[in-house]
Symmetry: C2
Subunit: 416 residues, 2 copies
């Protein structure tokens, strides 16, 4: 199947974008296509890339807010997660995919439980995703063995799906939930199987202190020492880092996922963005799960990223709009090692069309500023992923039933 997006604004010019199968095959030349989209009054943009989320946590949206981190986790989130089933995860992930499609995200990086459910949801909903079964052993050998089994099983499952949109990955949760031995196993397995590793790093000050107490080193030197730091690693949060640690992460090619809304809402801290950028690190953007955000709107995330950074470092010139946009697109593509995040010939056809005839996008002295500071996900008119149209005129088939199923399974979950 081929698609022609006609007369659309792209990088400041009116042009046409031609999609063949799942790739962008021509820009600027108008050719015959199976399907034509009128791009008038719209701007084409690469689909946004959410490099850290737990999509099924949509089910926990608004279940627990305004609490201290430990209370939130121990009394609210973990007890509920203990009752989760694969079907819950499937229905929660369907809701997440729906929300992402409607807000212009075409690819996401997810680590959670019962991820076969998420894989099925992604397959059905048409998005692109990198999926990892969470790995937590709580420093117990039997639990580690069980997790290794689950991890291998999930990797085989995804490979068996043979879906070019879904990439399996490894999901060691964090330094305070996974043993040194298991982290070593993960690292070796990732190399052997050529997989990305999705990990929470240096989210809180406490994490660093605890790590020092347990391992005699702060997280980054500890992980460096066991060879865990590499280009395979996507490290979420990455807040509490020294200048030296930032340099080590950059040298090892570790990819950062910045999660500003979650970091503010849980009062975790703020990422040392400028130092990271200056170190040459790949920085990408993620919403985190809906229990700590509470939505998956990457437009909102871009705005919060830049204004929070300006506010915290007391400099309004920090992270200008274009940089916020880059971490949500190019940075995401680099972090996940996929040819996405930029509309160029040869790249995967993950494209969104933004409706320019909106009050909040008028006037348009600077389109990039408007997208970062004024837009939200509802400005997206059309979402295309892997050369397939997932939404046009903001309409998605099955929206109603996805909402109903999610609402009822969420109610059931909290009453179990």
């Amino acid at each position: 199947m081929s698609i022609l997006i006609k007369d659309v604004l792209l990088e400041g010019e009116q042009t046409d974008i031609y999609i063949e199968e799942n790739r962008i095959s021509e820009i600027g030349a108008r050719v015959e296509a199976d399907f034509v989209i009128d791009g008038t009054d719209k701007v084409a943009f690469p689909g946004l890339i959410n490099t850290h989320t737990h999509s099924a946590m949509t089910l926990l949206r608004s279940y627990a807010d305004d609490l201290k981190l430990q209370e939130w986790l121990e009394n609210k989130i973990w007890p509920l997660e203990a009752k989760l089933t694969e079907n819950d995860v499937y229905l929660g992930s369907k809701l997440a995919c729906l929300e992402m499609i409607k807000s212009g995200t075409t690819c996401f990086n997810d680590m959670y439980w019962f991820m076969k459910g998420t894989a099925r949801a992604v397959e059905e909903m048409g998005l692109r995703a990198v999926l990892a079964e969470a790995f937590i052993d709580l420093f117990k050998e039997d639990m580690a063995e069980e997790m290794k089994g689950k991890t291998k099983d999930f990797i085989s499952y995804v490979r068996g799906m043979d879906n070019e949109r879904i990439t399996p990955a490894l999901g060691p949760h964090a330094i305070y939930t996974v043993s040194k031995e298991s982290l070593g196993w993960i690292k070796d397995f990732a190399e052997k199987e050529d997989l990305l590793i999705h990990f929470h790093l240096a989210e809180t000050e406490k994490e660093n202190t605890d790590c020092k107490n347990m391992h005699g080193k702060r997280p980054v030197p500890f992980l460096d020492n066991i060879g865990f730091l590499s280009h395979r690693l996507v490290a979420a949060h990455s807040i509490w880092l020294t200048g030296e640690e930032i340099k080590i992460l950059a040298e090892k090619g570790v990819k950062i996922s910045h999660n500003p809304t979650s970091n503010l809402k849980l009062a975790s801290g703020i990422i040392p963005y400028q130092k990271m950028r200056d170190s040459g690190s790949t920085i990408s953007l993620g919403t985190d799960g809906c229990a700590s955000n509470n939505n998956l709107d990457m437009f909102e995330e871009m705005k919060i990223a830049t204004i929070a950074q300006k506010g915290f470092v007391k400099d309004p010139t920090v992270m200008p709009a274009i940089e916020a946009l880059k971490i949500a697109t190019l940075g995401g593509g680099k972090a996940l090692g996929l040819k996405i995040g930029e509309i160029r010939v040869g790249n995967l056809a993950d494209i969104i069309l933004i409706d320019l005839k909106r009050p909040e996008l008028t006037p348009r002295h600077n389109l990039i500023s408007n997208l970062v500071y004024s837009a939200n996900g509802s400005c997206v008119d059309t979402t295309i992923c892997n050369g397939k149209i997932l939404m046009q005129n903001r309409e998605i088939a099955d929206e109603k039933i996805i909402l109903e199923n999610a609402q009822s399974v969420a109610e059931d979950l909290v009453s179990r």
Copy 2:
């Protein structure tokens, strides 16, 4: 004219809201009405109240971002504002009203230039507003006289309109742009004419230092000394305050307008929210103008208010969702001295209906959390102000022409 909103969710219960003329006249009793709105799958909420904006600055949206405050003002904003005409302000304010109606704001507090233009826009668009002609004398006597004339002229103009939705007010810009003598005149004139005063207070650290250099006192003691602090004063920003100053503001009944997005984006600082709240101050919420936000979405403003506060004071329990909602509704009504901000019998009929069938509002473990942390302005389906329906199904007459006029006048403005 009467309106019945049927089967709508209100404070956790399905009920009916009956509006007669411009008031909420009954809740819970179903009566005959001229017009019936089906409230199924919607929640009724008081229209949001934006207590600090410069609506016509929509025209400057995306014109100047990511700059230092002084450079931003001196090289970008002020030179452009010097070319403004009343017609520009009229068209920019129409755009702002459109954006507010579409994002659920029913009342705003505005201080700017050529405010007759804004008054005309508000009259046509159906919103409620408190409007003040900006007063800046730069410590020059002739300029002060000119401003007094403009101020009086604007007050007479608005009173001549005889529109119950539009309240005139006084707009002394700030301590660094208005002389002590003029502040004294404003205070006396406000008392004589029974008017609110809209003012920028303690937005930056520099403002306080400069004030001390010029007047020998910090802003709050200085203003207190000349009798400027009273229940008539709505003080925007109000960031750089000592504990003692917060107490003085509370004692004098000064109303605070908190503007978190602008404060972060311009790196001005963060409001001492908890101390203010504990002092018993009336705290309300505002977006500031579109040159420093860059939209007028009060849902986004609520979220940014609470997560920024949590992040800055390093405590996720600070400003829970319900408090964010209160400053955007009840706090706004109190700040502006209007019977709005709460859906109760006898109050003015400023009501919004929010569409609950949205992915980001599903599931609904806690409606308030969803509205503050997950929603944005596009969740608003219906906007009613003063008993008139301004938007239903997100449709507004003349939207297209308002956007076109604003785009073309904004282009003209920057090329003058």
